[in-house]
Every structure is written in structure tokens, then in C-alpha cells.
């Protein structure tokens, strides 16, 4: 088997020179250039993930030590002219879990390692002078025998070429600081001393870091130790002096375990500061380069919550404090496993369980927030405040005040932000005004029905129209540069008007006013307009979540009539933005029109508008919840490339999110959704300007660059529980669907050049996903709480490519705490029915057959039956109208079902295959009418069961070939790759299996004419995917090569060997 591609947690990182990123993912070392392109993929270990990378301390980083578990390998690195070469030394077994390693000062051959039993080992790499091969030959020496306590963390720091200072954190909250003095020629260490042994935390110490020698004026400490723990605290200790007298501490018998008291021996260094910030465990702590103002040092901590917290250590006199500056969450899901800091450049890299690498150019730098001076009260007395405002240019804001004044301000970097008066207070805007903005124009409506227009070019406010009563809403839309439409609504009116502004003097008189009859109780919250030679659309969104589409009247007048209203287009929440997109006519295809929208139901949607014979049909192609919200407030598509930005709020933050890249662009802490605000995106700068009101004051923040870059993004942050691949022949092509413990379903496309690309994330399940299956362009998913969803997947959606909408949720979703463990789906072939037949296996031992009718989206129970008391795990339908279920008792059970009548479902017979739970099943029907069931069990076994349907219904006709010790742990994935005749009446079946032991095995089974089976193992490889939950056959679209896709903690794709003769 040949390894094709993987997407697994990043467990080691190093920043090499200025241009290279080294990353350990499973057993592979990846070398990326600074632009994120992969330059090398090097297999370092056979069956061990990489957990650390140490670089030699010379300027060129000419050597590295890679380690994982108890194994290590040296790597020599040669960087020349933007190219990088690397060659590995032999594997060294240190015999204990390696926690940290470091090269001796200015050495590229001597490395110290600390293991989980607090032992120091050294490796020296010598290059044989006369050897033909340049492979360095390492020699390993155990320097200081370990004590028996288990460490979770260690940091080794060379103070001189013969002195290692080590900090170790134990499982029980203790920290030990000790020294080892080495003599290079000697076989054994001469001396080691414990400086401190102290109870540092209330939980396991997951990270320790010694600082370099500090020379900070006014700061009394020359060296500090930072630690982080299960107890959610980061603590800073003063280890300036290293007492020598406590060499025996730690080895004397004492009370052990949690809460144990260490004698009051003054062995503890002074705790300078401690602080909490992460919501769960903290895995690592580091020192950041760069600091400013009154900070003494910057500390970084990295947590299970997948976030980085930047701390300022501030020291004044004898008082130190640790203050949180900033928290950044670049990764999805949980667990930052790997960290690298580039000291001179200030660059930070993190790697997480989601398989992504985040690069932060200046992690400590928050967005600058500036206050905008309050409006000057022009009537000299009393105060005034900003009422409403919006952008009339990339950095120009138009605002009204409570007193009816109109001002603008330019948000330029450093100058104090003061408003410039546009108009003295207007009576009509006093105490009430609303605004709408588009490009350089602003429109302001007042309580008396007056509408004023502002053009940044002239910086003048002119009266545009009078609509007779209090203006309730203004919505400007500029579908073309020569056309601007302003929709105005008035309070309690049943009509809205569109002012067409394309005349010679558009801001003094609209060229046309069109009245729109509003649907009943339709409060307009958004508006979009489209027009070409043959077509006009006006689309309105309402506070109640409805979307109304208007088309020209059939009578040929200029009137627009409401053609269709989609109620609950965004459930019952406000439709906050609408955009119409035309997909240009192509040969053979008419132009298509799409409506993009966002709503306060937390979703982003794409619908197609189909216009024929004056009727409009609206088809929802895409509607998914975004990872922030529920108040999604705006939407903008980049004109040239495929970027779709949405923005809105998430608890106290304003968030900008790219739907295409599925990543956060910008985040500002503003206090939450309920306030006046305005946002102007800036695609070129990867940011924009955000202005908001908080406690009566106006603030401004600008982002001019992404806070972090991402490599390999898009993975689940938790373990995948289910996987399904759509048929390459489906309209949407081969799409990989994965459902994970984080309750998300993700759709991926695999491309040889770009790897796994996440297309969409489906967020609707409230519990872990149990099973996924494709049926044409339908994806079906099941989970706990009886959750079952039918997703319709569409191709050809502008920008997105693939669109996904939840067509139906099973009516019992959320009704109980039963889990739907597995299901199978086929066409409902009963008379007069069109739709799907879905058979579900439940955790309470019941099996139910449902009919789903896709037009009306109705669900009907066809039949139901009980198995015994075991949890069913799988169900599949055979072509001879039977169901086969698998259960946690290890039995395969045959059920009879007849399509034509409703009846209770009965099982006919059961056949014992495994000792305990059957985790996985694959099915193949042979030409002779028999079928094969391949099962993987919790009992480590793989069973191949041949089923010969008997005449009698009681006869299982099942015979099993069992491989009891197929894997060293539970077998959680099996699949059938191929079947082919192998001489005479023999057939050869190629199987693949995967298990919790992280092995993928390929088996060849020969079935002869009488059904006797012979099996042999033809491949056995390690997969970096832990907790394997599924295995799917992969048939590549590009080259048709078949392979297997393994899912669990990550995904792993292997090419299959061709079946042996």
C-alpha cells in the first residue's frame, strides 16, 4: 500500500530559519515554505507519531532531533538557495517517553533529552570520518537514572556545554528543578542536584518553561519558570538562584498522591504571579518575543480550548501581576498540541487536533481601538450623541446625532478623530433618524417623512424626497454603477416605494417611483434589486424571516408585483441582508439568478430564482448555520475571487467570517449585538473598519491584516465517528462526508494537488454523529436523541460550488435519548410512492422502517420490530428483501420484510459471529446468489460470513470464517475492495480492515465452489489516525485508482496494491 494523503493532528512544530516550518503529523515530518507550500514529506517512524522537534542552536539550524514516544532520530538539514534537503539518522530507542530535548549550546551533535521518569539521556551524533554514507551515527547514553514519579512535562535548558538545567512537572502537581553536570567524554554523569521540589499546582503540571537569563531593568529576577496545569492556572516562579543543598529531596518516602504536603523545607521558589484564563486544561506555556509599555515580559499559554492567551507579566517593585492581553482561537475544536516560537522574528506557530497550523506574525498585538470624539453640540448647551451612522467610503463615516445634526469623520490612523459638520441640526432628524449607505452615498430618513441624500464627492446633504410619514426603513441597492435604487418604507404602511436614482440629477429627483404592495405583516429589513434587458427582480426580506420576490407586472406596466413569498426563509428571524447574483449565460445554458441572504437565525443561504411565464420559482440550494451568530447581520461577495464574507455577532464580539475559506477574518470585542454599529469590509487588506457605540461612546477599530494565517485548515477539532463517500458518478462527484464528536458534519473534496479541501460544515446535530450515508445527491445523518436529518446537496452553486440544505429533520429528532446507531437507505418502491425508504437501527434494540416523501417532506412509519435487549449497531438491506442487523452481542440477525404492507417487523434467525459488539460490516453479493458479510468486532476479530439463502426461513444458511486475532484491538472498519474470478469457480475477494490498534490490513479471501474459504494477509501498515471509527473504499476521480480512506482522529488515504495473482 502506498500512502497518499493524511489530515491528522499536528503534534510537533519548529520554525527553521526565516523561511521554513517543520511539522510533525503522525509519523511524517512535513517541511513547508513560508508561503505554506509543502516542500518535503519525510517518513520518520514506522509506527510512531512525532511529538517533538529540537533544532541545533547554530544559526543555520543544520541539525534537528525528531522524537515521538521513546524513539528519536536525528536529521541533518541543508538549506541552500531557497531549497531544503534533509536526511535522517537511524532510529534510537530511549526506552522511556521523551518529554523534551535540546541541543547543547553551539553544538549540532550533542543533545540532552528528558524522559517521563525524570531521566536525562544524551545522544551524540558523530559523522563517521571515512564512511561512504554521510548518515550520522548517534550514540545514546543514559545520564541520570530517573525517579519513579511520572512527569507530564519537562523543559531542558543548557546553561553551559556541561550544565543542563531541567524543570519537570509531575502528574500530581509538583515541579522539580534540577541540574545535571556532564562531561562529554565520560560514560556517566558526575553530579546531579535538585534545586527545588515543590507543590506547584493543584492538578497535573502539563507545561513548564524556564526563561533564558533575564536582564530587565527594575525586575529583580534573573530567571523565571512558567508553569501551567490541569488546575487552569498559569504560574510564574522566581528561579533566579538555584540552591544546591536539596539534592535528596523527592527521593525520600513521603505522603504521595493528590494534596500531599511537601515538608515546609523552603524548597519552593517564590511564586511571582498566577492567573486563570483558559476554560479547560492548559497544555503549554512559552515566552513571547517583543513587549511594550510597562510590561516586563510576555507569556503565552495554549490550551485544550484550542486558544492562545497572551499575558503581560507586569512587575512593579515586589509586586508582579499576570494580565490577559488577548485570547486568539485560530483552531477549531479542541487541543493545541504543538507550539513553536521564533525568538528573533516574534513569529508564533501552533498546531492542533484539527490538523491545522496557525501562524501569528505578532500574537501579542490586538487591534487598536480608538474613540471618536462626541459630536460638538452646535446649540452650545447640553450634550449630544451619535444616533445612526454608516460608511460612505472606505474610511469615511456619515453620522446623525440625537439633535438632528449630520456630521462625517475620516477614520485615518493616528489623527484624533473629530467630526466634521455637514449640516446643522435638522428638525426632521431630531430625536429620530435612520440611514442607509451604499458606496459613496448615504440616505437619511426622518420622522416627518423627509429623505436626505449625501454624496461624499460633494460632501453635501440634499433633500431627496418626502414620503409623507415617518420613515421606517431605508435600503439602498446599487446593482450597477449607473443605477441606484432606494427602498423606503413608512411606519405601519402596507406599501413600500422604490426610488430609482439614475437620472441626470439623481439626488434631487428620482427618475421613477415604484410602489410595492407588501405581504401581510411584512416589516422590511433588507432589500436587493436586479435588472437587465429582459429581467427585473426586487427582493425584500422581513423581520419575520420571510423573503418576497417581486417581478414586473404581467400587464406590462412598470409596476412590480409580488410573485412569491417564502415564509420562514430564515426561520422566524430577521432577514438581514440580500444579494442577487447573476451567473452569466453560457453556450447551451441560460443565465441563472441566485439570491444570497443572511438572517438572525444564524444561517447563510443561497437560493435560485427561476423565472418563467411571469411566475417565479425559488429553490433553496444552500442554507447552513454559521459558526457564529445567531445574529448574522451582513454579507458581501468579492467581485473577482471567491470570497464571501458574512459578519455579525457572537456573544460580546463582532465577527467577520469568510464562508468560502470557512475561517474567521476579524473579531472585535464590542459588547454584543444590541447596539448601533457599522462595518466596511476591506478585501484587499483582509480586514476592514468597524465602528460601534458602547455605553454612549463611539469607537473605531481597523484591521489591516489577518490576525493569523492557516495551513491545512478545515479539519474537525474532534474525532470523526462516521464517514461516507458519495459515488463519483453522482452529480456532485466524489464528496467525502465526515461526522464527528464535535457534532459537525463536514464535506470534503480530495484533490491530488491540494489534498483534502473542506467544502462545507453542517452544524445541526446536537450530539455526536453516529452514521452517515449518501443516496444520490442526498446525504443522510443520524445521531443521539433520535436525531436524523436529510440533507440535499447541489452542485453548481455560484461561489460555493457545492450547496447544502437540510431538507427535512425526522419528526422524532430530539424526542428521546435513543441513539440511531445505523441506518440503510433505498428507494421506496411501494405502489404509488416516491421517496426514500430508511431503515433505522436503534440503541434500544428496535428496528424501524420509515418512508420519507421528498415532495411534501413527510415521514411515515412502515414497520417496526424488536430484536432482543442488545444495542443494534448496523443494518443493511439485501437484494432478496431481507435486512441484516448487527448488534453489541456479536450476532448477525436476518429480518424478513415485505414492502407492500404495513406490519410488524420480525427477525427470522440469528447467527453468532463475534464474542462482543460488531462495530462494522460490509456486504457483497456474489454471482452465485450467495452473499458475503465481512464484520469487524470489539473482540479484535474479523469474520467473513457466507450466506446461502435457504428454502426454509429458519435456516440462516450462514457459515463463518473467523480471524480471532486479526488486530491487537477492536476492529472498527472493514470494506470490500474488489472481487474477481480466480480460476475455475473460485473467487478472490480483497478486503481491508482497520482498528483501534492503528493498523490497516489488507486480506485476500479465496472462496471456492463449495464455499470453503482461505484467507491471507497481504498488507499491514500503521495509520496515524487514532481511534479509527470507519473505513471507506475510495475511487479516485482523477486517476481511477482505488484506495481506502480511514477516519477517526483525522483522515488517512492509502492507495491499494493491485490484487496479487
Amino acid at each position: 500500500m502506498q500512502h497518499e494523503r493524511q489530515h491528522v493532528p499536528v503534534t510537533a512544530l519548529a520554525l527553521v530559519g526565516d523561511d521554513w516550518i517543520f511539522s510533525g503529523q503522525g509519523p511524517y515530518l512535513y517541511i513547508y515554505g513560508s508561503d505554506g507550500t509543502t516542500h518535503r514529506k519525510i517518513r520518520v517512524f514506522e509506527g510512531q507519531a512525532i511529538h517533538g522537534i529540537a533544532l541545533s542552536a547554530d544559526d543555520l539550524a543544520s541539525a534537528a532531533l525528531i522524537w515521538g514516544g521513546s524513539l528519536s532520530r536525528s536529521l541533518s538539514i541543508d538549506i541552500q538557495d531557497g531549497r531544503i534537503e534533509a536526511s535522517l539518522g537511524p532510529v534510537q530507542n530511549v526506552q522511556d517517553w521523551i518529554l523534551d530535548a535540546a541541543f547543547a549550546p553551539s553544538s549540532h551533535s550533542l543533545i540532552g533529552l528528558v524522559t517521563a521518569h525524570n531521566a536525562l539521556a544524551t545522544i551524540s551524533i558523530t559523522r563517521p570520518a571515512h564512511a561512504k554514507s554521510p548518515t550520522p551515527r548517534p550514540s545514546l547514553q543514559q545520564r541520570v537514572p530517573g525517579s519513579n514519579c511520572i512527569l507530564y512535562s519537562a523543559h531542558i535548558l543548557w546553561l553551559s556545554p556541561s550544565h543542563c538545567l531541567v524543570a519537570s512537572g509531575t502528574a500530581f502537581g509538583d515541579i522539580i528543578v534540577w541540574s545535571a553536570y556532564l562531561e562529554h567524554d565520560s560514560e556517566v554523569p558526575l553530579r546531579s542536584h535538585t534545586h527545588f521540589t515543590f507543590a506547584a499546582h493543584e492538578g497535573s503540571v502539563f507545561g513548564v518553561r524556564l526563561s533564558s537569563q533575564l536582564k530587565i531593568p527594575g525586575f529583580g529576577c534573573e530567571r523565571v519558570l512558567a508553569s501551567c496545569s490541569d488546575d487552569r492556572t498559569v504560574r510564574i516562579w522566581d528561579v533566579s538562584s538555584l540552591p544546591m543543598e536539596s539534592s535528596a529531596a523527592g527521593e525520600t518516602p513521603r505522603d504521595t498522591g493528590f494534596g500531599a504536603k511537601i515538608s515546609e523545607d523552603a524548597l519552593a521558589p517564590r511564586c511571582l504571579a498566577k492567573a486563570m484564563g483558559h476554560i479547560s486544561r492548559i497544555w503549554h506555556v512559552r515566552y513571547a518575543a517583543g513587549k511594550h509599555r510597562d510590561e516586563t515580559m510576555r507569556i503565552l499559554s495554549f490550551g485544550e480550548d484550542a486558544s492562545v492567551i497572551v499575558w503581560a507579566l507586569q512587575a512593579r517593585e515586589q509586586l508582579c501581576s499576570l494580565n490577559q492581553l488577548r485570547s486568539i482561537k485560530a483552531h477549531s475544536g479542541k487541543n493545541i498540541w504543538a507550539v513553536a516560537v521564533h525568538d528573533s522574528r516574534g513569529l508564533l506557530a501552533t498546531g492542533a487536533a484539527d490538523g491545522a497550523i496557525a501562524l501569528y506574525e505578532s500574537p501579542g498585538k490586538s487591534l487598536d481601538i480608538h474613540e471618536i470624539a462626541p459630536p460638538l453640540s452646535l446649540e452650545s448647551k447640553g450634550s449630544d450623541a451619535y444616533r445612526t451612522y454608516g460608511f460612505v467610503g472606505p474610511s469615511t463615516v456619515l453620522a446623525t446625532t440625537d439633535r438632528g445634526g449630520v456630521v462625517q469623520f475620516h477614520l485615518s490612523g493616528d489623527q484624533p478623530l473629530h467630526p466634521i459638520e455637514i449640516s446643522s441640526p435638522l428638525a426632521s432628524l431630531r430625536g429620530y433618524s435612520i440611514m442607509s449607505n451604499v458606496s459613496a452615498f448615504g440616505f437619511i430618513g426622518g420622522s416627518d417623512g423627509a429623505i436626505h441624500a449625501f454624496d461624499r464627492g460633494t460632501a453635501q446633504l440634499v433633500g431627496l424626497a418626502q414620503v409623507g410619514s415617518k420613515v421606517a426603513g431605508l435600503f439602498a441597492c446599487r446593482p450597477r454603477s449607473d443605477l441606484l435604487n432606494l427602498l423606503a418604507t413608512t411606519v405601519n404602511a402596507t406599501e413600500a416605494r422604490i426610488l430609482r436614482l439614475d437620472g441626470p440629477d439623481p439626488f434631487r429627483s428620482p427618475s421613477r417611483t415604484t410602489m410595492l404592495q407588501l405581504p401581510e405583516s411584512f416589516v422590511v429589513t433588507s432589500f436587493a434589486y436586479y435588472e437587465d434587458e429582459s429581467l427585473r427582480y426586487a427582493v425584500l426580506g422581513s423581520r419575520g424571516g420571510a423573503i418576497a420576490v417581486y417581478c414586473p407586472s404581467v400587464d406590462g406596466s412598470n409596476q412590480l408585483d409580488c410573485s412569491i413569498t417564502i415564509s420562514e426563509a430564515h426561520n422566524a428571524e430577521s432577514v438581514t441582508s440580500l444579494r442577487l447574483v447573476q451567473q452569466k449565460r453560457t453556450p447551451g445554458h441560460a443565465a441563472r439568478h441566485f439570491l444570497f441572504s443572511t438572517g438572525r437565525d444564524g444561517t447563510f443561504a443561497v437560493r435560485e430564482l427561476r423565472h418563467s411565464n411571469a411566475a417565479v420559482e425559488v429553490i433553496t440550494l444552500h442554507q447552513l448555520a454559521l459558526p457564529f451568530g445567531p445574529n448574522i447581520e451582513g454579507l458581501k461577495m468579492h467581485a473577482d475571487d471567491s470570497r464571501v464574507w458574512t459578519w455579525g455577532f457572537q456573544s460580546k464580539h463582532f465577527v467577520v467570517y469568510d464562508v468560502m475559506a470557512q475561517r474567521e477574518i476579524m473579531r472585535v470585542e464590542c459588547g454584543g449585538a444590541h447596539r448601533q454599529w457599522a462595518f466596511e469590509p476591506d478585501f484587499d487588506a483582509n480586514g476592514g473598519r468597524f465602528v460601534w457605540t458602547k455605553a454612549g461612546r463611539l469607537f473605531h477599530a481597523q484591521q489591516a491584516a489577518l490576525p493569523f494565517r492557516l495551513l491545512n485548515e478545515g479539519g474537525h477539532g474532534r474525532e470523526i465517528k462516521a464517514v461516507a463517500v458519495s459515488s463519483a458518478s453522482a452529480e456532485i462527484g466524489s464528496v467525502i462526508a465526515t461526522g464527528a464528536e464535535d457534532t459537525d458534519i463536514k464535506l470534503f473534496r480530495y484533490e491530488k494537488s491540494g489534498g483534502f479541501h473542506c467544502l462545507q460544515t453542517l452544524r445541526k446535530h446536537n450530539t455526536g454523529v453516529q452514521h452517515l450515508a449518501w443516496h444520490g445527491n442526498y446525504l443522510l445523518s443520524s445521531g443521539g436523541f433520535e436525531e436524523f436529518f436529510v440533507w440535499r446537496v447541489s452542485a453548481g452553486v455560484p461561489y460555493l460550488g457545492i450547496g447544502v440544505a437540510c431538507e427535512s429533520a425526522h419528526p422524532r429528532s430530539g424526542a428521546s435519548d435513543l441513539r440511531i446507531m445505523g441506518f440503510c437507505v433505498d428507494e421506496d418502491t411501494r405502489d404509488g410512492n416516491r421517496g426514500l425508504r430508511i431503515t433505522m437501527a436503534y440503541s434500544d434494540s428496535t428496528l424501524k422502517v420509515w418512508a420519507y416523501e421528498s415532495e411534501q417532506r413527510t415521514w411515515t412509519l412502515i414497520s417496526a420490530g424488536d430484536y432482543l435487549t442488545s444495542c443494534l449497531t448496523q443494518v443493511m438491506a439485501t437484494t432478496d428483501h431481507r435486512f441484516i442487523t448487527a448488534a453489541t452481542d456479536g450476532y448477525l440477525t436476518t429480518w424478513r420484510h415485505q414492502q407492500q404492507q404495513q406490519q410488524s417487523l420480525d427477525w427470522l434467525s440469528r447467527h453468532n459471529v463475534h464474542q462482543s459488539a460488531i462495530h462494522t460490516i460490509a456486504h457483497l453479493e456474489l454471482a452465485d446468489g450467495t452473499s458475503l458479510f465481512v464484520t469487524g468486532g470489539d473482540d479484535n476479530a474479523i469474520a467473513i460470513t457466507r450466506c446461502t439463502p435457504g428454502e426454509s426461513s429458519d435456516d440462516t444458511g450462514m457459515a463463518t470464517l473467523l480471524i480471532p486475532r486479526a488486530h491487537a484491538a477492536a476492529v472498527t472498519g472493514v470494506a470490500i475492495i474488489s472481487i474477481r474470478p480466480n480460476g475455475g469457480e473460485c473467487q478472490q475477494v480483497q478486503l481491508v480492515s482497520a482498528g483501534i490498534d492503528q493498523r490497516i490490513k489488507v486480506w485476500e479471501v479465496e472462496v471456492d465452489a463449495v464455499g470453503a474459504m482461505r484467507v491471507k494477509k497481504v498488507a499491514d501498515v500503521f495509520t496515524a489516525v487514532a481511534d479509527v471509527s470507519g473505513l471507506e473504499v475510495w475511487r479516485g476521480e482523477e486517476d481511477g485508482v482505488s484506495g481506502v480512506l480511514v477516519s477517526g482522529v483525522g483522515i488517512d488515504l492509502w492507495r491499494m496494491p493491485s490484487a496479487s495473482a
Binding site: Q48, T115, D230, T256, E304, T869, R965, A968, I996
Partner: protein, 382 residues
């Protein structure tokens, strides 16, 4: 999850509360005993990683009080009812349905003589009658003399080389598991270290022929552990009781027939696990068969063995896959299934509240601050 829904999700959680067990894991030991007769002839036991003490409770009730706790206490009555109703008139379905639990002799009280049980855990444990409880870290070297002293009050510990019990024990149990981090390799390593620590203690106190039962994570490289255990025990089986969820990596290694390698001395300075390994010199080498064999079982299933035991891997270690045995009759409640609660079911409080986590103080602080940790003011205004 509410108490009641947890009762439905997990039958053993409910049964444990109803039958007064401190944790559902009591059933795991009981089902292991049903299969392996672990307590036969046993009077001296060490229970490692014992808190909250459900295994010690089992020892107390079985060995000290002489109770017999049979299958009836974890049997799902519906299982046989359904099978019986289906089997009406069908002979082929009857085998396996007869109710052993009903035919079993009534429980008798037969307290054993000279029972000595020592329980050790990191966390404090509520006392149990007749059981010596120690609060100690089993991975720490100072725990060995502590344990020897608890087993034999005469033990003085004057000589550090004398690390063997003068009156060895019959059975060493360990149900310990670390708080998992989610980094699978590390969790497997830490679990293996707990197992090594338990085995280290067992080597000091177990009598030849004694038994050792410990929790194991069946994950990557578990076959390396199996191979090591096989060196010092005659029979090594990996067992999964019905009360342990199929969805969990947990299983139990049941080692029978302790055979210390000749000249083997348990050592404080060189404990197992930290680089020290058992070599196969004392015991028989792992299976040397190299041919594929097919065996027809009575039930018609053909079993295949490839004879590849004892192969060495990267790093030079030897692997061996211990045979798997599911224990507990199929009539036992299924730990993975959702259950209907019995009529009139009242959800009980757990017998013992869970122990305080190390982040308890963090939670308290958080509460004090009204939900979020130290509400930070980002980016002060200039």
C-alpha cells in the same frame, strides 16, 4: 445529562445505585469473576487505584462477608422472556435459553478465614469494614514499603533490598485509569505506566501461581504489553465484561499463574516500565508456530491463526496479541443499549459523590466572577 436519562442510558449506573455499589465498575469485577473464578481460594488481596472503592466493596462482600453475588443481580429479565416467547414451538432456539441463574444454588454465607485486603488510591477513600486503605501513588517508589507494612505489620522496611512480602497475596487488582488528555499516544503511555506500576507492586507481593487483573486500554501497541505480561504469567487473557461499553477502549487483562522468572528481584531502582523490560528467559517463548492453521469449531465456525506471534518491531520490542474473551452472559444488561426504566422507577442519588477534580478551585473562581473567567478588557482605549 440528568440522573434519570443516565439511568436509561446506562443500566449498570442504575443497578449500582440500587444495589449500593459506589460505582458501576463493581459489575465489571463481578462479571470477570463469573468467567474466571478470580476469587476461588483467595484470601489475601491488594486492590490498587481503588477509589471510590467499588472493587473493594466487592472484595468485602464476597471475601469478608461471604456473600455470593450471582448473575441475577445484573440480568436483563427481558432477554429470556423475548427468547422464550419466540422459541415457543421452535426447538432450534431453545438451547442457551435455560436460565442458569434460576437454577443456581441459593446464596450462602461463608465468610473466609484470614482475609486480608489492602486498598490503595491517590484519592482519599471512604473506609470499608475489614479493608486497610492507603492513600498513596502506586507509581511512587515509597509506596512499596508502605504496602508491605500494611500487609504484614511486622515488616520493618529496614533493608531496602527486602522488597518481597513475607506473606504474599493471592490476587492483585487494579482498576486505575488516568484522566485522559486526548493525545492518544500519551494516554496509552500513561495507562501502560499505571499497569507497570501495578505489576511492579504485584511482583513484590504476589505468590507464585497468583492472579493479576488490571484495566488496560486496547489501543496502539497494546500487544507490546501483552507480550511482556506473558513472560511472568502462564495464561494471559484480555477480557471485556458486558458491563464495560463496547464503545470504550477499556478492557481487563486477566493474568493467571504467576511465575516469577528465576532470580527475578522486584527493584525500586529499576522499576519496570521506565526502560526496564522483562526478558523471556524465565518463561516459555511465545508461540513459535509459523504456519497458518484452520480449526473447525463445534458451532461450525472456522477459526484461522497465522502463527506470527513474537515478531519484533521498530525499536526492537516483541508483540503478542492475547486471546480475547467477552465475559458475562448475553442475558446481562448491555452497557451500550438504551433501556426502558422499570415502572415506577425512582432515580437514586449516587452512593458516593464523585471526587473533587483538580480544577475545582477554577470552577469556584469562575462562579465568583459570574460565569466567565476574569472578564478581560481587551485593548484599552487610547
Amino acid at each position: 445529562m440528568g440522573k434519570s436519562s443516565k439511568d436509561k442510558r446506562d443500566a449498570y449506573y442504575r443497578l449500582a445505585k440500587e444495589q449500593g455499589w459506589r460505582a458501576r465498575s463493581a459489575f465489571k469485577l463481578l462479571q470477570l469473576d463469573e468467567e474466571f473464578n478470580l476469587f476461588e481460594g483467595v484470601t489475601r488481596v491488594v486492590d490498587l487505584c481503588a477509589a471510590p472503592g467499588s472493587w473493594s466493596q466487592v472484595l468485602s462482600r464476597v471475601l469478608i462477608k461471604g456473600e455470593r453475588i450471582g448473575r441475577a443481580s445484573w440480568e436483563d429479565k427481558r432477554y429470556r422472556e423475548i427468547l422464550r416467547s419466540r422459541a415457543a414451538g421452535r426447538q432450534d432456539l431453545l438451547p442457551g435459553i435455560e436460565n442458569e441463574a434460576e437454577n443456581a444454588p441459593p446464596p450462602t454465607n461463608a465468610p473466609r478465614e484470614g482475609v486480608k485486603i489492602v486498598a490503595i488510591d491517590l484519592q482519599p477513600m471512604s473506609p470499608l469494614e475489614g479493608i486497610t486503605c492507603l492513600k498513596a501513588d502506586i507509581t511512587h517508589p515509597s509506596t512499596i514499603p508502605l504496602l508491605l507494612h500494611a500487609l504484614d505489620p511486622e515488616y520493618t522496611g529496614s533493608s531496602t533490598t527486602s522488597l518481597e512480602a513475607s506473606h504474599p497475596v493471592d490476587l492483585v487488582l487494579s482498576d486505575g485509569a488516568p484522566d485522559v488528555t486526548g493525545l492518544h499516544d500519551l494516554d496509552i503511555y500513561i495507562q501502560s505506566q499505571l499497569l507497570w506500576a501495578a505489576l511492579n507492586l504485584a511482583l513484590c507481593v504476589l505468590k507464585p501461581g497468583g492472579r493479576f487483573v488490571a484495566k488496560i486500554f486496547r489501543g496502539k501497541d497494546v500487544d507490546l504489553l501483552y507480550a511482556q505480561l506473558k513472560v511472568v504469567f502462564e495464561r494471559v487473557t484480555v477480557a471485556k465484561p458486558r458491563s464495560s461499553r463496547a464503545s470504550s477502549v477499556e478492557a481487563f487483562i486477566v493474568c493467571v499463574g504467576f511465575r516469577p522468572p528465576p532470580g527475578f528481584k522486584a527493584s525500586l531502582d529499576h522499576p519496570l516500565g521506565a526502560g526496564r523490560k522483562l526478558d523471556g528467559a524465565g518463561g516459555e517463548t511465545l508461540s513459535s508456530a509459523v504456519e497458518t492453521t484452520y480449526k473447525l469449531r463445534d458451532d461450525g465456525t472456522v477459526e484461522v491463526e497465522f502463527g506470527e506471534d513474537g515478531r519484533a518491531v521498530e525499536g526492537g520490542d516483541v508483540r503478542w496479541v492475547a486471546p480475547f474473551l467477552a465475559c458475562g452472559d448475553l442475558s446481562a444488561f448491555d452497557a451500550d443499549a438504551s433501556h426502558k426504566l422499570p415502572e415506577g422507577h425512582i432515580s437514586l442519588d449516587p452512593v458516593q459523590p464523585p471526587t473533587a477534580p483538580p480544577y475545582r478551585r477554577a470552577l469556584e473562581e469562575r462562579k465568583k466572577l459570574g460565569g466567565a473567567y476574569g472578564k478581560t478588557k481587551l485593548g484599552e482605549v487610547k
